[in-house]
């Protein structure tokens, strides 16, 4: 059986813990990328890893590495401060990659 992990600020991940997800509190991007490396290296048990946007913004390189492999899916979620629009821009990037230009018009 596969697991789901959440990497984010201490207060962000707290709620997810109650839902039964694995949580990795990380205070800064360095800790977050360490956590990510640990989760992805140890095993392929983790099928989905949610990462808080304000941490993910500083570790795009590492996140992009998993873009083309079927697992794990790394999904950005907004933090406590609200959405930074990073998830939307990932969508735009995928469209641009596929089509060649941004056809969504925004």
């Amino acid at each position: 059986m596969l697991k789901i992990a959440v990497i984010g600020g201490r207060e962000t991940v707290m709620g997810f813990k109650a839902l039964g997800l694995e949580t990795c509190p990380a205070a800064n991007a360095q800790e977050a990328s360490q956590a990510l490396r640990r989760l992805t290296r140890e095993s392929s048990d983790y099928a989905i890893i949610y990462i808080e946007e304000n941490l993910a913004v500083q570790m795009t390189g590492e996140i992009d590495k998993f873009k083309d492999s079927p697992t794990p899916a790394i999904i950005l979620i907004p933090g406590r401060e609200g959405s930074m629009g990073l998830g939307q821009s990932a969508l735009k990037a995928a469209v641009e990659r596929a089509v060649g230009t941004n056809i969504l018009g925004d």
Partner: protein
């Protein structure tokens, strides 16, 4: 246009013609694949956009409830309340094949099926806002799972479309014109040789006739 490496013989001509046929066929198939992938991709993108908005709104709402809860309760109490989860989530993973791209399909089930069982604490020492926050979080989690699936599908499809598009373009603008050029070059060269032979024969015939009849 025609690369100089081809030898103008009939055998090579036949080979090239075969390759051109294959290239044309491949080009047509890949083009169809690209179009179909694109169609699927646009659906996924649309879905992703909606889900993304839903998840972001839901999470923001849940976090603000949590914020209120943490303002009411002491941080130690809050942490203690959430420390040991009653619920655990297990994720099943299957692959679905979309035009030879394997995309993940998640199915998940929680150990506790009763939705009221998500609260891992007693109600006596915690505030109602915490219940509210967890409830919101649990609800948005369904969307988050779907978002993960859709987003991964989108990324994988984007990669495949990029690859297919490159192949289609390489065939259309490089391979096929080059093959056509080579074929033209060879057939012209062969024709030229044929003409040369014909002219030579005529000339020889003339000489032979002249020899036999002493024409002047």
């Amino acid at each position: 246009m025609a690369s100089t490496a081809v030898t103008p013989t009939r055998m090579v001509l036949n080979q090239l013609k075969g390759r051109l046929r294959t290239a044309r066929r491949g080009h047509k198939l890949l083009k169809d694949k690209r179009d179909e992938l694109m169609r699927q991709f646009m659906d996924v993108v649309k879905l992703n956009k909606q889900l993304r908005i839903r998840v972001e709104e839901g999470l923001t709402a849940a976090f603000s409830s949590l914020q209120v809860a943490s303002a009411i309760m002491s941080p130690e109490m809050l942490e203690q309340a959430l420390l040991y989860p009653r619920q655990s989530v297990e994720l099943g993973l299957k692959y679905k094949n979309i035009m030879s791209v394997n995309v993940p399909q998640y199915s998940f089930h929680t150990k506790n099926n009763d939705p009221s069982e998500i609260y891992p604490y007693g109600f006596a020492q915690t505030s109602g806002e915490l219940d509210d926050a967890l409830d919101k979080l649990a609800r948005v989690f369904q969307d988050m799972l779907e978002l993960a699936q859709v987003e991964k599908t989108m990324q994988l499809l984007a990669e495949e479309i990029e690859k297919t598009r490159r192949r289609v373009n390489a065939l259309e603008y490089v391979m096929i014109p080059e093959l056509e050029g080579n074929i033209k070059y060879i057939s012209m060269k062969l024709e030229e040789n044929e003409n040369a032979t014909k002219v030579r024969l005529l000339k020889v015939k003339e000489m032979v006739l002249q020899d036999a009849h002493h024409y002047k």
